[in-house]
């Protein structure tokens, strides 16, 4: 799942106006464990992130979109949908 979606991540990063470094810092802040280089590789699809890593990157982007007045446009690995109402909360 994460693999199918990771190609979208770099476009989202650009739309969010984040540099690779800033996105990594946000990912790190959210508890991400991968290096900046690995995260960049996720964005370009050169490395396949785990679902968890993918979701942390997606959430870092989504928090940025919320700051910009948007919702949560980047889908998480457990949901193809992108509307904020369809959470995967158990």
């Amino acid at each position: 799942m994460a693999g199918e979606l990771s190609g979208l991540l770099d476009q989202a990063r650009q739309d969010a106006g984040l540099s690779h470094g800033e996105l990594w810092l946000r990912y790190f802040e959210l508890g991400g464990m991968s290096s900046a280089l690995q995260v960049e590789a996720y964005l370009y699809g050169a490395l396949l992130p785990s679902d968890h890593d993918y979701d942390v990157v997606a959430h870092a982007l989504n928090e940025r979109f919320v700051e910009l007045g948007g919702n949560h446009p980047v889908a998480y690995s457990d949901s193809q949908t992108v509307t904020e109402d369809e959470g995967a909360e158990s």
């Binding site: 190609g7 050169a46 909360e89 158990s90």
Partner: protein, 421 residues
Amino acid sequence: MSSSSLSVNEGLVAFASGIPLPADGAPASVIDQDVPGAGRPPVPLSGATGGITPADPLAGFGATIAFAGNQAVLGVVGQVDLVSAPELAAVLNAVIDLGHATVVLDLAGTDFMGAAGLEIIATTGSRLRSTGGQLTIRSPSALVRRMLDVTGLTELISLEPTGPVEGHLGPEQTVAVPGLPVVMAPAIQAEQWRRVTAMPADLDVLDGALRLVVALAQATVSGADGVSVSLQRHGRLATVAASDQTVSDMDADQYATGEGPCVDASVEGRWFHAESLDQETRWPSFTPRARKLGISAILSHPLLADDRPVGALNIYSRTAVAFAPKEQELAAIFATEASLILRDAGADVSDEQLSGRLGEALRRRHIIAQAQGVVMERDGVSEDAAYTRLRNFSRRSDRPLHEWAADVVGSTRREAPWLEN
């Protein structure tokens, strides 16, 4: 952002609508236009959004694409620099996304390839290699070829050196034309750098770019046995890129003694040339140390940001009188290039800002980890499940995860005040 990419709004609409874009959707449109005409004249890659005007920094840049079975041959026309490199990356990614595992990048039509182009070769080479594919570089100029060697990229790619005759140095070497003013012709055009200025700063990218400048300077300046970049960081000089340990040690000796061409260039903002250390008298403490390490000549050029010296590009040689006027001018060009990189990056992020931001990130990370532990304990769920719960709270409320995490941790303290003690 490149002209072939989605605009911000389009990108958001595409995501919000829930319709997955094709992988690397934007570049695919470039391929749609170019694929059927395999081998035809180059199509300007920026053509998707309108015509090329004389001011278009991408003018003259294009590519030809030909397919043979699983192999794709991408011919590059024009300069691969900081402006055109993203376009090239987009096309390469699209070609790979289309399922071509073997890609040949033909550089015969390229009259310049800068550090950004080398980064793309590195990224694409890694990507293809990780999937069992192969990137082949065809007809690199001697300089590009040497750069591939110097940077170790030959480990990632295969070379197909057709084209250049023995001794051909490639058009980048127009700098060496005798009797003419030294000009690194296409490398540093104001138009291009203005576009780069709009990009956000990224210290990883910055350091990577400076390392490439160092490698490029060492490969190009004859007599250069070692190259480094020193920068003012946290109020003192530090070596941020060096070609080898001896060079790092040499810089460190100058910082330690507080003297030397690197220190003087960084402070005074003008260049210093120690032609032969045997006759050098200006730096009595540093010079013996340098000679002990086998160094005989040093050239230090200041790096300037907003006309203020912020560091130096240092070139070391084991040979006395190694740096002729041509080498000195080349060094000046690389120092200018490094200065431009710094100007574009340094405008956005200072060290103080970065360390402050990192401290804040660490604090928030810690709170999130604490909250994760609370949820695991309280709900009896795994680490990942706890994280997902916190994340979904954040997602539904549009509140940042760290704020939720602080609430969760705070609620525990209220419920269990003895924990405070």
